[in-house]
Amino acid sequence: MTIEFVGVENIYPGGARSVRGVSFQIREGEMVGLLGPSGSGKTTILRIIAGLERPTKGDVWIGGKRVTDLPPQKRNVGLVFQNYALFQHMTVYDNVSFGLREKRVPKDEMDARVRELLRFMRLESYANRFPHELSGGQQQRVALARALAPRPQVLLFDEPFAAIDTQIRRELRTFVRQVHDEMGVTSVFVTHDQEEALEVADRVLVLHEGNVEQFGTPEEVYEKPGTLFVASFIGESNVWTRAVQNGRIEVAGAALPVDPAVSDGSEVAVVVRPKDVELQPASEREAHAQVVRSAFKGSYSACWIRTKDGEVWEVHVPSADRHRWSPGAWVHMNVTRWFIFPR
């Protein structure tokens, strides 16, 4: 099922705007990650899709049908909450069958569906347990089975992995992606973890202060950020402000060309990813900067280098070479890739 937002705005009773005229379209069978910092409006958008919030302005369409005024009971969506929101007084079986009971599905059919989902979620032997007797990962799988039971057109996840420890989180991410692929539903998940969004989603909707900053594939938002916010929010980056002089800006000893439309004297932001800086040993007189600290991070090492202007840059080098860039070493910097945005 496709999901479409057309000029959706949401204003809270106090007057605060959580979503500001947002428009986007999610394709059928796609898995989309809503990514942004706290207060960016991502959870509100998810709740609007579910029908738990009504937009102040604009329209929501699911599967080509206008659902703006439709209550959550009639939208046929599945929702998995961050805290799982399992019914604590019900067993796993009763939790999973809840939606089917509400839809008055015949008992045999209901039982078969619940057992199929419990098998799929590897929860068969936990059918008679209560939620408080399960681990976080198991509870998450129960919540997923409960959401999937009534065969929803759209599956929504509100920060689904936030309350789970790192190891299980990685397994669950893969599992959720597998569930999405096998069930063939359209999925939307909210996260503030960019690694999670880039790994799991087909496309990522980057939100900031209730606006859509960029909607694209993980590669697009990382490699071709559309705004300064996206460039600085997705992935690690060095962000500096420079004044344009003769159509160029000076960065680490190099004069980088700027869009001719930007007039001389105006300020721009230059964003350089730590992986896009090459270091070379240099004498103190010729060097651009000096290494002040380095940290081993596994496949790469992070070096923090201070330029002669006092700026501290983060640069990533292969871990095999890290002994060359020990604190105190003088280096020459070569910026291989950069993004420039108006300030």
Binding site: A50, G51, L52, P71, P72, Q73, R75, V77, G78, L79, F81, N83, A85, L86, F87, Q88, H89, M90, T91, F98, G99, E102, K103, S125, Y126, A127, N128, R129, F130, E133, R146, A147, P150
Partner: protein
């Protein structure tokens, strides 16, 4: 340090004995001072039996009505929060803050035959003061804070996400109440029920003013005990007091047993899921 701890323990034990154990012992001793047959005779008189029947019945009705009312008020205070809910929250405690005799007086002045309300009710065939209806009104007034305060924290602690999950799964508002909210509140509802029931059982001040204390008609157990004392029948009063205390204690025990039973049923189902290997 150790001496200080011992002194504190002794002080607490002494105080408990003085204000709790000794008076209780005195009542029990007095109740059985004439032997078992005298005790039975005192509590099995028709007036005593009728007083206990009335007390139990009217306390039960009060507990049911006020638990429902308490739930409604607690929901309004914690969920809907309309304008003036702060004032309502404060007013709820009014019956706790004023003497219960004043509560009774308020009801007599409002519903008595000389007041406009009382006159209007009488004209329409409804008598409140000096009737069982009056006793019910007094008990409802006196016990409502117990129900509200027992339920408020439980409603505060409800996970709204569970209700939202139920809506998204297709449940109507009524079904969400029945299947999600009420079961989640069952312990608090049980507490509200027992607290209002026991408080209604022992109420005296408001009832003595409102009920008219007609034996076999409007005389409740606490007023019956008072009547016996006024007639210098200390042994009879003590015997009735023992029964009243026993009934209240029984209510608390039943509540505890019920909660334990719910917990055990959970554990049994869990054990069944484990193939019956878990000892419960």
């Amino acid at each position: 340090m150790r001496f200080g701890r011992m002194a504190l323990d002794s002080l607490i034990s002494g105080a408990l004995i003085l204000i709790f154990v000794l008076p209780l012992g005195a009542v029990i001793q007095q109740a059985f001072s004439g032997g078992w047959s005298s005790f039975v005779q005192a509590v099995m008189s028709p007036i005593a039996i009728r007083a206990f029947e009335l007390t139990l019945a009217i306390s039960f009705v009060t507990a049911i009505l006020n638990t429902a009312m308490g739930l409604l008020i607690a929901v309004v205070l914690e969920r809907w929060r309309p304008v003036g809910s702060g004032a309502l929250d404060a007013v709820i405690d009014l019956p706790l803050a004023i003497p219960t005799t004043v509560s009774g007086l308020m009801l007599v002045l409002l519903y008595g035959p000389v007041s406009p309300v009382g006159r209007w009710l009488t004209e329409h065939g409804v008598a409140v003061v000096y009737t069982r209806l009056g006793i019910l009104f007094a008990l409802l007034f006196v016990t409502v804070p117990y129900a509200v305060r027992a339920l408020q924290p439980a409603i505060q602690a409800l996970d709204v996400r569970q209700e939202e999950a139920a809506w998204v799964l297709g449940a109507s508002g009524r079904r969400v109440w029945l299947k999600v909210i009420v079961p989640a509140l069952r312990h608090a509802l049980g507490s509200a029920l027992i607290l209002t029931f026991t408080r209604a059982m022992i109420e005296f001040g408001s009832v003595v003013i409102v009920s008219g204390n007609k034996p076999m008609q409007t005389e409740v157990a606490s007023v019956y005990i008072y009547g016996l004392l006024e007639n210098y029948d200390q042994r009879g009063a003590a015997a009735a007091a023992v029964i009243l205390m026993f009934l209240c204690a029984l209510a608390f025990v039943l509540e505890a047993r019920l909660l334990a039973l719910l917990g055990r049923r959970r554990a049994v189902r869990w054990a069944a899921a484990e193939g019956g290997t878990r000892h419960v």
